[in-house]
Each structure stands twice: as C-alpha cells, then as structure tokens.
Assembly symmetry: D2
Homo-oligomer: 400 residues x 4
C-alpha cells in the first residue's frame, strides 16, 4: 500500500500495459530462453525489441536526449519489477547489464566525442558492450587489489591484464576496462577506466565461462579475457586518471536497485506459478496440493517476504533520490543481501511445490534457480555486505 504513495502517475499508467505485454508477448518464450543459444534467440529478441520501441518503452531509465524515457530511479524500479519476470525482459527494453551501466558511465563521465562514438549507438541498441573489472587472481570484494596495468607511453595506454566474468564480451563492440594507471597513488586512486574496442589487437577471448551448466554465448555469457600489450589512445580514458574506483561505485549504486527490483519481478513470477500450481494440481480425488499446510506455509512465507523485500528496495530508492547514494550506503547493503535471500528462498519453494516438474526446464523456475544462485555473490557477496553494514552501524556506537 505504501508503495502506491511513491508510484508516479506516469508509472501507474505504464505498468498495466507493460505487464500485459510481458504476459502476452514475452512469457510464451520461457522455454526457449533455457534451451536455445543466443544466436538463435536474437531474431526473436530483435522482433520483441521493435515492439518495445514501437510502444515508446525503449531505455526506460535513460536520458530522453538519447532516446530513453527519462524515468527516475524510483519509476524505473517499478518498471524493473514488471519486466524482471523474464530472463530477457531487461534486454528487450535495452536496460540490461552491463550495457546500461556503461551508458550511465559514458553519460556521466564521457567526453562529447566518446558519447557520440559509443553512447549514441549503445542507446540505439546498435551494438553491445561489456565491462572488464573482476580478475581471477584477486578476491572480488577488494577493489584495490588489481593486476591489470595500463601504462601510459606517449599518447597511448598499453594495457596488460587478465579478467573474467566479463559479461557479454562475446559479440560486443567495446569493453570498458578497469586498470591500474598509477600504482603509486593512494589505494582508491590507482585505477582508471578505459574504453577498449574489442577488436583491438592483443585483446583475446580465452573462453566463455560455463556457468551452472550453461556454456554461454552472446549477451548471456561471461568471458575470461586477456589484454596483451593492448594499445589504446589516451582519448579513450573515461573520466580523469585515478577516477576508476569512484566511477565503479557510481556505476554499482543504481545497479543494485535495478537488480533487486528485477529479482522482485522474478519472485512475483515464481510466486504466481507456485500458487497457480498449488491451486490446480490434484493430488487425490478432489484434493488439491494447496490444501496441504506445508504448501500453505511456503506460500504464506513467500508472500510476506516478497512484500517486505519490495518495500525495503523502494524505500532505499527513495532515499537515494532524496539524499544521494552515499547517504543510502547502509540501506543498499541491507537490500542486497536481504532480497537475494528472499529470491533464493522463493525460487526454492516454487520448485519444491512443483515437485518433479519444478526441476525440469518445462517451466522457467529451474533456469532462475541456477542462474540466480549468483545473486548472493555478484556485486558484493552476502558476507561482504553484512560485514560492511554492521561496521557502519557500529562506528556510530564507538568513542566520543
């Protein structure tokens, strides 16, 4: 109910149409997503993208100057939930990671030339991009430990390094790479972001990581890549030298809101399937699955937890809007681990209620179950966020 208070008129008008579109045009492809390689999906996706564009829903959270709808963070949160119920929902609206994060970076810190060359076509969906930060040699939770070096020689950076979990590298036109440009600087000012066209000599795809049994190709892939003496003109530096860590933080902030609300979309989808199945699956003559208390328990707990998680995310989005991302640091940590847990629990219960059917790819549940195990790991593990939140709280209790 509280959520109604913060739903803008624009969102209220949009939501029913978008929900109807998802149900009628996108959900029927559930089974395709988990079975077809990206190359075979692309024609379907392109056709759906055209429908999205035709309805005026393209790039919901991005600047109208670049063809977006210009929704606020909060407005986009509601849209995220509505389109999160399909694994390709975000892609269809061109607000998928990692591209949307890259667009935000280019918008914020890009030069006019960079915007024209890279941001404009990304916004139009002409090509895809990726973001190369994580390295296999260093634990992800500590961004100041990084082995990739961009050494300035004349008007060029020469980049050497090893990255993985570079989402969507396969088939993309450009990557934004995080690399150390000044190893002697203060820890959080050592790294910079540099735009690297993926056909630059020396930039090699080692492999697409197989994730939870999915070999990966195209957009839904995660690559291991290597930079060997990759030479990039200094004009491709994004923001100033040493601003890499700061930009990464900026990039992650709204991204976490988007993820969390997308997860809420998944939760609602799974919840709906669980209820429908429980209400209609006959287990004995005239007795339906949903009459069993153990099933009722799963439904009731899921409903309460989804509602709770959604309120927390929206409350955090509101705080970011009013007071900025830094002021919301505690809440962002809290929603990250709280909603990721709700997501995992709701998917687990939805599968359990479906019994044998739940583990097959005859429903979308099994895909979400394996793909979204990562939710408790990426963008900061549960453990990292819990420790971080607690330390921020405890700091207020000490000394004086």
């Amino acid at each position: 109910m509280l959520t109604e208070l913060i739903k803008s008129a624009r969102v209220k008008a949009l939501l029913p149409d978008i929900q109807a579109f998802m149900a009628a045009e996108v959900f029927p492809y559930d089974l395709a997503w988990s079975k077809l390689p990206f190359g075979e999906l692309e024609p379907i996706l392109e056709a759906l993208r055209e429908k999205v564009k035709a309805r005026g829903w393209w790039l919901p959270c991005f600047d109208a100057h670049y063809g977006g709808m210009g929704l606020s963070l909060m407005e986009h949160a509601f849209i995220s939930e509505a389109i999160g119920g399909s694994p390709f929902g975000y892609y269809l609206f061109n607000c998928q990671a990692p591209d949307i994060g890259n667009m935000e970076l280019l918008h914020l810190a890009g030069t006019e030339a960079q915007k024209e060359q890279f941001l404009q076509p990304l916004a139009e969906g002409q090509f895809r991009s990726c973001f190369a930060m994580t390295e296999p040699e260093f634990a992800g939770s500590n961004p100041v430990r990084m082995g990739t070096i961009a050494k300035r020689v004349g008007d060029e950076y020469i980049i050497n390094g090893h990255k993985w979990f570079t989402t969507g590298f396969d088939g993309s036109e450009l990557t934004i790479v995080m690399a150390v440009t000044d190893p002697e600087a203060a820890p959080y000012q050592r790294a910079s972001m540099i735009i690297v066209p993926t056909d630059t000599p020396g930039l090699q795809l080692i492999r697409n990581l197989s994730i939870m049994g999915h070999a990966g190709s195209g957009w839904p892939s995660h690559s291991e890549i290597r930079f060997e003496n990759v030479r990039i003109p200094v004009e491709n530096l994004l923001g100033g030298e040493g601003t890499g860590f700061m930009l990464a933080q900026v990039r992650l902030g709204p991204g976490r809101i988007h993820h969390c609300m997308r997860w809420m979309g998944i939760c609602e989808r799974a919840f709906d399937m669980m209820c429908r199945y429980a209400a209609t699956r006959e287990i004995e003559d005239g007795v339906f699955l949903g009459e069993k208390q153990m099933v009722q328990q799963m439904i009731a707990e899921s409903r309460a937890e989804i509602d709770a998680a959604k309120l927390m995310v929206l409350s955090t989005a509101l705080l970011i809007e009013k007071a900025g991302q830094r002021a919301a640091a505690e809440q962002i940590s809290a929603i990250k681990f709280f909603t990721a847990k709700v997501l995992g629990d709701v998917l687990d219960r939805a599968i359990q209620v479906h019994g044998g059917l739940g583990i097959t790819d005859d429903t979308i549940l099994a895909l979400y179950y394996r793909e979204e195990r990562a939710a408790r790991i990426y963008d900061g593990t549960d453990e990292t966020h819990k420790a971080s939140l607690a330390r921020k709280i405890l700091k207020k209790y000490r000394g004086g």
Copy 2:
C-alpha cells in the same frame, strides 16, 4: 525513508520528545519491571503517568472527547514504536491492552449509559478492565467453539463458563465477557459481549496463571476465572445480541497493528543494546566484540529484518486507513507472523551477543525474551495466520 512520507507533522513533532522521555524517565526502571510485583510498581507507574498527562500525551490513539490525543491509526503506530521499548510504556500512556481494546469497543458499541459508567473512568485511568474470551477447553484459533453460556432470564443474563488468559483481571473493575447467547444461531452469530463488574457474585478468580516463571499480579497478570450463575442486567449487553464475534474482529484489527509496532519498539531497543555492547565490550586487549564477523552478521541481519518488518506494518496501517480492515486481512496476517518472528530472532541475537549478561535480569532483554515468546501465539498463532493467508491467496487462483 519511505516511512517519512507517512509521518504526519504532528508525529514528527511528538516523536523526539517522547523518545527522550522514554530514555530519561522510563528506561531507568528496566530492572524494576522484572523484579518487583505490580503492587510495588504502581506508585512508580502512577508518578510516570502523571508526567505523561502533564505533557499532553495521554491516551494517544483515543477520542479527544475522552481526553485522548485523537491520533490516527498510522500516527499511533509511530508512537507505539517509540513507547514499546519499555514493558510498561503502553501502560504509562493508558493505551495498554486489554483496556484500550475495551475502550474502543465501548466507544464503538456502547450505549451512552455504558460510556458514562465504564468508558469515561477507563479513559481517565481510574480503574482497569479485562476481556474474557479464551477458554482452556477449546483451541483458541476457532472462535465459534465456546463453552460459556449467557442465558437470558427476564431482565438478566445468567452467565456460566470458564475462561483463562483473562489479562489484567486481577485488580480490575470490570470484564467484558464473550458468551454464547443463542446456541442455535448461525455459527458466527451465537456469541455476544456482556459487561460484568468483577465484584459480581459468582465471578471467581481461580488463579493467576504463572507465565514463563512470572506469577503475575495486577495489570501484568493472566487469570483463570469462573462464572457461576453470574447475574447481569440486560443493559450490560454490549452491542446487539449475536454481535460478539463481529465485535471481537473489530477489536483485534487495530490491536494487531499496535502489537506489531510495539514489537518494533522492542526490536529497536534490543538492537540498540546489542550494538552498544558489541561496540564497547573488549574481548581481548584492544579487540572489541563487534569486530567478530559472527556478531556483525547478527547485527546486519537484525537491522535489515527490523526495517523490513516496520515497513510492512506501516504499509498495512495505511491500507487499513484507506480501505478498511477487511481489505487488509491478508496483510494483517502477514505482518502478524512476520514481525513476531523478527521480534523473536532479534531478541535471541541480542541475548547471544550479551553472553552471560544476556540471560540475567541485569538487562531488559531476558524479560522480553520470555514474555514475548507469546507473540507467536496470541491473537492467532503463526500457523493460523499462515494457513489463513495462503488460503485467501489460493482462492483467487481457483476455477470459475
């Protein structure tokens, strides 16, 4: 953050003062509450009640005509949290169960004579009242099974029956008793509520139930009582004959919001104590308890869960205000079991962080731990609310 949107100007002005009052004037009695019998507490309580009155905070959620502040349900929710951090907070503001529920009943359904005779002095805090519904012979979750009979004979009801968990009977002036007046009526129209002065012949205290080691006396007591041919004039009928069940539902609705927000007050109190202890307890030279990740985990999870629970309760309160209690039935069930679990978990963690100290009565935590175990039982067990919520949801998925 979302909660700020629904905080009225009046509440914003009140809260800091009430919080300061609680911390300065009430929390210092923490240890007294768990050690002194009610008789010895009463002078302390009366003095504090006078201070509350003097500040204009008496009866926050009740009609100004009767000396209350006339706050809305939502406004009272915020106040509830603020005063919930002491076991006697509600009592001090004269909004304690069961009296406040009785006042609401009398206000809603009482005749002018009943209001003058019973409501006015209750509102002034001149005496206390109680509510006799639960019976040992019948499971609490089924209100249509009831053994207490009020048989009309002439101008009187003759009441016979056996009740327990009659909170605050000891020392009260009147009880509102739920009794079957027409065993032949439709199930939900069999019972009525009747106002019974506690000195009426035939109404006997069997014993105060010892609850979690607390013998009980005065207000914080729960009695087993017997009605033996208790004769009451028909004028003492509250509302019409057969309206007992309906009135009970009315009584429970806002009561659950109050309970849940009171629990949030307890949670915040326990959370504050847990953090303070973790931040200041040295476990090795220069190493503080709060540096341990297992403690950080307890703090972080508690913070997230309290925030989630609070948002849910406030959202439900808003729904009740906008659409009425019946429209909020699902949400009310959800917050009942969700917040009761959060309450139990937060108290458990706060005790664990305090170690040996946590199980002593040197802090208020141990009192809350044992007293509030009941939160998952009274006003509908977790199981009842979960089953009820799930069935309401599933009903929408069936056939047609």
Copy 3:
C-alpha cells in the same frame, strides 16, 4: 567414531584403496562430466569400468553369483560414500540407479529365464535398463493413482500409458514398467511390474526431459515415454500379478540408504573443496578467506551436519539389517529429508565460499548444486516423508 564399530574388516581394507582410486582416476574428470554429452563420455567411462573390474570392485552390493562383491547393506553404505564424490562414481561400479534397483527386483522376483535373459547381462554391464513408474498426470506421492493399464489378452499384456522421469531410457535395452493389471483389486494390489524390451513396437520416446539446463542423453537422462498397445508376453510379468506396489516398496528401501550415503560422499567432497579453498585463497595480503568468521561458521556447521547425517544413515542401515525394512520405516523417512537438507545446505555453502568460481563449471560444485536439487523431491518429497513420519509417531499416542 561410532561408525568405526560397524565397519567390517573387509570395508576397512577396501576404503583407502577405493578413495585413492577415486581421487587419482575419477576426480580428474570432474569438468568433463558437466560438459560432455554421454556419448562422448562413454569411452572414458568404459575404460574406468575396466579398471574397477580389474580391481575386483564390480557390483559391490550384489550377489557374487552374478559377479558382484556381495557386500552387505551396511558395507555398501560405506562404499557408497566413498564413490559418491563423483557424479559417475556409481556408474563406474555398476551400482547406479536405476539398473541396480532393477537387478535387485530381478534377483528377488525374477524367474530363472528372466534372470538369464535380463539379470545376467545387466550384472555384466552389457546393456542398461530403466524403470517406468512416475506419470505426469498423477502426483508422485500417491502410488495408487496410476493411468497406465496392462490388459491381459490371451498370452499377452497390452500396455497403454504415459510415463516420465524414466531415468536412463535413452539407449537402454529394457524397462520395467509399473502398470495396473486389475483396476478392481484392493488399491495396493492393482498394479504389476512387467519387463518390456525397449524396442517393442508401440513403446515410444517422446523426449528426454531437460533437467536444470541439462538436455540429457544416455544414462544421465530422464525420458517422457508412451506405451501404445505395447504387446508383451505374459512370461515377462515380474513376480505375481498385483505385486507391483509391494515390489516398488522393496526396491525403494535400500535405494534410499544408497542415495543418502551417496549424498554423504558429495557432502564430503564439497566440504573438502570448501576447506581447501578457504585455507588457500588470499583475500588481502597475508589474510586468507578461512580467517573470516562467516566462513568459519559455514565450515563448522557443515562439519557437524555431515557427521550427524552420516550417523543417522548408518544407524538406519543397521536397523534394516537387524530388523528389516518395515521396522525401519520411520528412520528411513527421517534420513531421507534430513540428509537431503544437509546436502543442499553444504553445497550451497561450498559455492558461497568459492564466490564467483563456485557458480562456474570450473568445479564440480555447480553441477551438484543443480542436479541434486532433486534430492528433496525424488523418492518422496521432504513434505511427504515429514508427514509420514509424524503420522507414524502420532499413531502411538492415540487411543487407549
């Protein structure tokens, strides 16, 4: 320690050799299992099977007359754990489901002709078999509801029906099908088991079910199949008419012990990987992942739970050996849901400790995570076993 008491001398001698074999010869194929289709795995598997035979470990739990080692249920439990740490461990020793269950059925209830024709080559590993019981139209937890009919006409049964989750149908030589032979009989005496060569006309593969993203082929596949007027000579009836349900129970009993101990093997494997990673993964200079208390918590809880689960399974195996399967019905239910939960929790924690690496197929963990989600569903869901156990217990408390 208690487990040592029940380890026979034979098992004590065998275990170190088998464990060493698994580590040296089988675990190196971890990554192959999750990436290669069965057809490409088969040559590897055959070579390993030859090694197993050469060491005298073939068919550990089966009658020596058929080339097995003749280990007792308890002895096999220990072996199960040792070979459970690879998804193909059981297959290598020719004690994989569903074949071993079929061999047990044929051994118990088969005629001499059936044994010669079907059991002998299965025991030798010449071909594979499958077991067709579950039907998509009927909830799995109720074996008396079954749509497949085998109608006797002259010397033949004419079988019509629809089955799914027929594990290993793809590429197998025979299926044992459960079908109703007398719809008028008492509920538990309606069904019979019939041996059906898979090339019999009318028996069709509809599809291999895609399970958790795995299309399935050969042994690790689960098929949906249809019987359309499949004609089978009455000589292929297994056991007497109407004994289907009884035989199914017999088949499931030791199977559950095997599953549970195999899961323990998975747990130990995952636990070992989790500890190794925690001990050696540097997260800051000189600081290792395992120094973090949240990781220590995951390790400690996993260790305790695995030990507990293992003791329960072995205790149940002992009870079956001493008193028979029926006497152990409560314990069998208890270990089924208890160990399946431990399995799921340990795998989840092992992945979490591995971070990003954990969700890739660079370790075996992600394979187990998605494959073994089914553990809480097959052979009776958690819910079925919990309800069944509780009802058996409560029965003793009733009546007079």
Copy 4:
C-alpha cells in the same frame, strides 16, 4: 539402532527402571520446580535422594570407592539422558553441576587430606560446593584474561577478586576458585585452583543473579561474589601452582558430554509432551491438532534432529573413551553447538504446539525454555565453538 551397540549390559538393565522411576516419582513435581524456592523444595529433594540411594543409583558416574556406581563416560551418557527430563534429575542422583565437576577435580588432583575433608562429604551429599571462575569484567571465552589474584604470603594465599555465575554458591560449604598465582608465567600457566571454605572471612556474597526472571536460591542460583583479602592456607591449593587452566579443561570435557546428554533428556521429554498434546488436543469436532501438517512438520523435524544429535554425542563419548579428550576436541565443539541448537528448536516447537498452555508454567516446557536459553552460551558460546572447530579443520589444509 547404532546406539544399541554401545549400550552396556549394565545400562540396558538400569535404563527401564530409572525411566520408570523418573516418570512415576519425579515428573509429578514438574510444577513445583518452577514455582517453589529451593528452601521449600529441599525436603522433597531429600526424600527423592533417599529413594535414589536405596535403589543403588547414587553418583552414577563416580568412583565406587566414594559410593558411586562407577559407570563409564558412555554408560553415564545414557543415564544422563534418562534423568535429564526433570530439572532436578541430576541433583537427585548427586551428579549435578557444579558439584560433580568439583568431585572429579578433587579425585584427580586432590591430596589425600583434601579428599577426606572435601570429596568424601560431597560424594555423600552432605553439603554442596561451587566453582568460581567467570568474571564480569572479562569475556568468558578467553580464560587467560583474569583479574582474580592469589598472592602467596608465607603459608597462605591472599585472594582478591570478583566473580559471577558462581553456580550454587548460595548455601554451599566450599568453592573452588580460579585465581592468578603467577602473572609473569606463560599465559596458560598463570592460574591455579584453590579450595576456599565459603565461611572464610573476606568472601562475600554480593547477590544472587536473577536469571530469566528467577531470583535464584540454594543450588539453582548463580551468585556474584567478592574475595577481599581472603586468606587460605597453601594446603588448599588443588594440584600444582599454574595448573588451573589445564584442570579447567579437564573439568569441562566430560561435563560437555553430560550437558549434551542431559539436553537430549530434555528434548525427549519435550518431544513426548508435544506428541501427546498434538495427538489428543481436539481443534474442531473430531479433528486433532496432530492432523495439521504444520504440526507434523514440527514433530518430524524434531524427531530427526534429536536422533542426529544423540548419535553425535554418543559417538563423541566413544571417541573420548578410546582416544582421550584431546583427540575429541573437534567433536566436542561440534556437539556443543549442534545439540544446543536442537535443544532450543525442540523446546520452541513444543511450546508452539501447546499454544497458550505452552507459555504457562502448567507444563515444564516454559521453565526449560527460559533456563536452557543459556545452553548456547555457557561452557563456550556457539560462536566460540564454531570458530574453534573451523580453525582446527583449516589448520590441516594449510602449508606443507
């Protein structure tokens, strides 16, 4: 079943008689325990102790030379469970903490004179003793931080210090105090144990700690005490100087087995009550509480967890018998936190199933619920044991 293997003939003979005695003679006092002060309980307890003695069950785990039964650790484990179902069970058999631990210390390290003066009458139950180790100023999990000093001056120690949680001080004849005798020694050799008659000048009772609402008196009390220049002859040193820490470890080891098995006794008692109530409580006409799946779930999970916990404890006891306490350090940590959790969960469920009745003192459940919250804290918190277990495991994975 596994447990039968390790039940000695003696235990098999004893158990039915002891169980019958507990049910017939001790359980009827359930309600008395939670309501009467120790002084009023003592005559009841003495009469029951006489019955125990008369049956030959006195001091089951102690040397026959001192009038005990001389049972092994394992045998005593079974007895512990049998007598653990009453809060006074241990007391009746004279194997209650802290006396039994003190007897073990005196037996192990006492001089002949100490044994005659202190051990003999303790064994006979002539008086009670206590053990003063924990200090409010220092976190309990670190035994080398201790403020109590025993300074040797001539033939005396002069003891100064502050202790709390000195169980049973009230009314006892002697305390064994842990004090630093050499602050310059290696950390684990600084402290010694000294026997102090409680009437020695300078030893003062500050107060009995109120624990979970229980003021405490006599044996079931926990005192805060102060040593002010308490002068004790050096003959009262127990063991050598500097052996305090080592002796404390020795004292804790079997104590943890006893605690864990006593908790199993509580679990079985609570489980029995939960089942009986569920089987017989009618919630609608002809419908019993135990028919509800949510209740069945609580029963089934409790049964499995109790069985698991019991097997772990017995397995650890066996390991201690065979290989000594040091070899069982990991298992002891595991059972401490595992069984304490099972205890808490089972009690919580038993109360929940009982509904309102469960929180009253009309059953023993509420007493156990509040008293045994301490189980996760004393003798090492859950967190301490988990961290300790994990570190021991991880040590094996490092280096080499």
